[in-house]
Symmetry: C7
Subunit: 282 residues, 7 copies
């Protein structure tokens, strides 16, 4: 280096470098770069501000909506999304600014791309959860308070969240199900249910009489209970075996009231058949 | 900077920069850019306008169609699609305009690409739902009111939607099934059904006589019921065991009328066999 | 701008711009562009015309083919494919023409690519359906009227479509199965079937005699029924238990005639064994 | 345009354009293009010719091979492959020639790439079928006439095709299985089978004597039947219950002859045990 | 080489090379490179320092959190993540610096990309584990000490880790479950449970009396046990058979106390029914 | 053309073209191309030669290895791999040489890439088979002659091949399993087995005495049979029912000898218990 | 060529080529290339040396670790990894060096990329095995000697390898399980187990007395056996049927000692109940 300075002359190098820097052609280049950097920076700030405001708006919307959301959770998720956006935008702003100065940043982009894909693959089910959650609310598939079944889990909907839905089963457990796994849903709360009861009597019972009594009893139960919404129907002989005959009765009742209705009919039919000397054996 | 100005001369830099800007060669470049920006902007507006109109058209079409769509849902989905298209087109218009000014926007594109792929993977089943939904209607697989079974869910079709189909089961629940999961469908409502009834009598019964009575009774039932569309057929001895013999009868009946027809035949056969001193034991 | 015009001189700019436009070097460039645009446009029109004609040809072919296709469906699908091709080709023609004018259209292409991949992933099973459908017909796997089973669905083939195959089950339902799901097919209609019947007699029965009677009866049935195509074979003692002995008979019969043949043999064997004082107990 | 001609002078433009075209520098460029186009065209023709001949060769080979192929099917598939290759090669030849003239064809290539990937994904199982089919033949996994089981399908191999294998089940159905699904194969026809027979006698039977008789009978059956290839072995007491004792016999026999051998032994053992006052009860 | 030196003159080459190196134009180029290298190096150090500090911060946070983490494990994972980041950043810094010197490093990047993707695919479930683990804590799905069930594994949560969750089953085994597999969770500890008890009595029992006794006994148990939180309810006749009648009682109790409550009621009901001359037979 | 020749003068064009070709600048360009082509060609030949030799070496190795490989198969696979490598290398050599002459071959590469990916996807399981096969041998998972179970297939290993492994089941069938499907393997041949025998006696048997006799008998059997490697252990009372008591004995024996050992113990215990007036009833 | 030499003059070409080669501008270019090649070569050697040393280090570490690794296997795997790294690095060094000489090597890279992806897909489960194996050791999921269950395989851990884990089942088989398939693990050896025993007595047994005796006996067993670590608890009446009553006892015992403890309690309870005139019937 010292040798180099001695031979080439430091003075000359300094002077020529200076001339290079202050030449007008370079100035215009640098002006362009400066303008581009400013534009990029301003755009980055604008995008961050807009998305943060949009997220805040959505969070407020959610809090106002009649669906029961846990405000704390919505709030935290709002801040989480905001941070992720800010960091990502800043990363791209830095990359873009550096690239204007002529840095070859392809490797960093490639690295970020591979990382992004890797996270993207891992986060695939996360994205699916959010999209499906959106459609569950959007399509009125079920609401908080409905009794639904999805897969093997049945229960009352306690909360429809951004990522998971919580069901409370009849025996008190909480099923936490990612929205993305809620593909086929059965909603038990939107329409009346149909209670189906099989009444079995011995083979040698007088079937006409048994049917008559069954019909009258079912009618009476219908008039006394507000769970049953239509007069029960006796469909006929469902099955015959060596020892008994089975009749089937159906009764349209309020959503999810089948077990109560069946228990009610069970008891009343047993009583009334017994009163007429017949025996309900199933 | 001050130093720079002092040495290089601010006046000179200003003058030369000015010359650079107003030189004709640069003017033509800038004219080209201006024209390109205008073309891009116009194209963007045209695409947005056309797609919005197409979506509005499709929404109106759907509302007119005989299939029962919930107008509110169709409307909201229409607006949703419109917004997504507008935002996407605007994003590309901005990117294209900036790229005409010489911004190196590869990083943003790469970022958008990774994001697009990530969302694309998550939304894969959404796309599949819409495509399959389209083919369900297009191929007349089933219509509102048909009784169908797909997977483990059987019921009457209540609504064929853009993304999900709703079935109402016999006992009143609503099954909500994404169209993409409706792969194998069984439609019970387009053709007549075949009721199959096994009549079991004791081993030592006179089989000829039992078959005769069964045949006559089935014929009589056929003449009195409009559910059965062809005279029932006695296929013969289906099975023999140590204690009993089973005959099989089939009766072509109206779609989904099998349970009623079987109950009807059950009752009538029990009665008529009893009248002839035989006993139906299954 | 006004300032600029005052300083730089509008007249000079106009003149030099003009010179730039009419210089021969630029003329040759523009001529090249014009020729390329024309070639691209012509190529686009040619591709559209050829593919449309090819589709129309295929539709006509299908209508003439002996397989039962619903002409309305084939027609609509023909038009659908035609439109998709036209729109795609036009999109590429516009892109190519614009790219000749020096527009940087990479972003649009990237966007279209991501969109194409997203739709491609969603439409994957659609492509698979069509390819498999092609091979089903191409390889004579089954024809309309055959009884086939695929997965859990068994029935008579009603229609082999472009995307789905329709089976009519024995009890009257229509199974609609996407061709892509028809992987393993069992065709019951191309070869004779083998009816297998197990005849059980009590342990202390004279086995030699029982076999003799069984053989004679089976032979007789074979001579009277045209469903059985070869004389039935008595394979021997299939199983022995504490209380009974089981013999196995097989009878090659017409495709899908097993149930009838078994019922026939069942009845006749019961009768003939009884005539000889033996008892068929299974 | 007219204005342009008036101002710039059409004559001058024409002359300079002409000069441009006939200048030697451009001539050499065009010569190069012409040579490249010829080379590309010739290469395309060569590739098409070679692959078509290779396919034809393979088709002839297949027809000569001892495996039973349906010549009609092989022929059609040969022509199908030939067409696909020709169209693909021509497409690339046109693209390459156009690209020599300076057309920017990246969009078309991207489009073809997306299309290719879409079809590729859909055709994935097709490729897998062909590759697996190749290895089935190549590795002698089974041959036409062998009894094999793959998945739930068991039967005699009727045909090993390019894409599917056809099995004929014992009861006459044809199972058509894509080669790609034939992963685990069980071949029943290459080695001798082992017939396993459990002989149950009452608990209070003289076991020594029963074993002696069983051994003698099995030996005798072995000497009279050519299905059994090695003298049967009495393994000993397999199980003991409250009421009975079970002995196990094994007999190596010809492939797939187990049922016949077991039926034979069943009958003979029942007879010989009875002759010695013992009773085979299972 | 020697020849070359003789002819061309080593002196001249040396001199001209020297001139080339010390010419000011090259100096500015090299100055730019030097600055870029410094910027890249500084950026690399900054990124490493920041991420290392962030990881250390998170580790400390975890250690302070009330959830029981094994400090040793958290620590090791912290160091592991730190190393991975340092190595990756250094790799990119080296690549970027080399690329500033004009090395064509595309092959290395491509290689690293393929390697990254390969590892990315293999590590997919790892990423998913971490993301799901984050959401489990974030969404309060369950806490250490809760009794949960996921898939077939039920137990008390012992530790929620970065990658796996440990459950201790009732019989003492530790189930170690990757967080990514914890999709559907059932939490038994957040709400009261419902104990369901079926009481079966003989068919000819006086049902009114039995219900009265059952009710009184259940009430008494409720008053003496603090496991039951609401008075038990007698729902009615659940089922009737030929020989017995079954009544159902439900009792809301503390989370996971059902078995104890049922055993308690079982015993007390047996006793009190016996005291009244009735017999609990199920 | 003729016009062109007349105007421009063919002579002049010829001359200038000639000058262009023989100018030294072009000569050096062509020399470079020639050298590169030679290098590429030589490299291609070298790669082909080396890989072919490596394959041949591996084939010879395999033939010498103690594992039973079918030499014919190994040979054919060797040649197959050799051909695939040669064709691929030649394809790349041609592409590289053409690209040195300035052909734009991106389309062909893209086409080959798509094709490669398509085949790659289809051949995925093939690659997996080979890799897993390599690790099976490499990790000594099992050897020819071992009894192993993988999935539902159990048998003696007959051959570990490049792509498939062949098992011979106890009843003589050959299971052919792709190596890639051999994930979980159970090897029965490397360690001693444990025979487990449950001895059931009537509830009122003198348990002490029964255990004593059992112990003595088991000891005696152990001394007489070389299949049992350790003295059998009487674990105690395994289960109690209303009518009987079950004791459990375990005996460490040679690999896969459990059935024989159990049969042996079964017989001897029955005998010795009977001698002491006790009865083994299970 | 001869013609060319005659016309253009070989002498002149030779001279000018020479001038071209020895001109200083080219010298500096070649010097740069030479330096780059040296840097690349040195870097390649360094990477190879470092990774080889790192692998050797890891192998030594493994050999010293208390976990039982088979040294031979670890050694071979070390050498295997070393070779793969050397070949890969050399490939990239050659590619990089060639690319410095201006070879267009994109095709080779594309080919290597497709090959890499193909192998990467096939080797996906291999990578997953190694990563999961690392976490098994890293997270102390289980150690050699523990009894674990994963999937359907239960046994004592014999060896945790780089790719597979070996379990020895209770009956002596070795289960070889790829680490990637070890997702949910149940470890039976880290905590005490809970032995659960149901004691059934006849319905009319004096329950109080039976419980008293059971309690005393269990206590006594606890005092005499060191397998039970806490005094057994009598939970109460578990179930009641028509004929019997079942009590449940639990006893915390050493890991995996449940079967022994249950057998012990079984025997002792039978004896003590009998001594008090009661009968244990299940």
């Amino acid at each position: 280096m010292a040798l180099l300075l001695k031979i080439g002359g430091w003075e000359q190098i300094k002077r020529e470098t200076w001339d290079y820097i202050v030449s007008p052609a370079n100035w215009t280049v640098w002006l362009t770069i400066a303008i581009k950097v400013l534009v990029i920076y301003a755009a980055g700030r604008t995008v961050t501000a807009i998305t943060r405001r949009a997220v805040a708006h959505m969070v407020r919307e959610r809090e106002k909506s009649p669906l029961k959301f846990d405000p704390r959770r919505t709030n935290t998720i709002g801040r989480l999304i905001g941070n992720v956006i800010t960091y990502t935008v800043n990363f791209f702003v830095i990359i873009l600014i550096l690239s204007q100065f002529g840095f070859n940043l392809a490797p960093i982009l490639a690295g970020a791309g591979v990382l992004g894909l890797a996270i993207g693959f891992g986060a695939q089910s996360l994205v699916k959860d959010v999209i499906t959650g959106f459609f569950i609310i959007f399509e009125d598939q079920f609401a908080v308070g409905d009794v639904i079944q999805t897969g093997a889990n049945k229960g009352t909907v306690e909360e429809i969240g951004i990522r998971v839905t919580r069901l409370r089963s009849a025996s008190g457990e909480i099923h936490i199900i990612p929205n993305g796994l809620i593909t086929q849903v059965t909603n038990f709360s939107t329409h009346n249910s149909l209670a189906i009861l099989d009444v079995t009597v011995a083979y040698d019972t007088d079937l006409e009489k048994a049917m008559e009594i069954t019909k009258d009893t079912a009618k009476e139960v219908y008039h006394h209970s507000d769970l049953i919404v239509k007069e029960p129907v006796i469909l006929g002989v469902q099955a015959v075996t060596n020892t008994d005959v089975t009749m089937r009765i159906t009764a349209e009742c309020r959503p999810n009231a089948q077990p109560e209705v069946i228990r009610l009919l069970n008891m009343e039919l047993m009583r009334s058949l017994e009163q007429h000397g017949l025996k309900k054996i199933g």
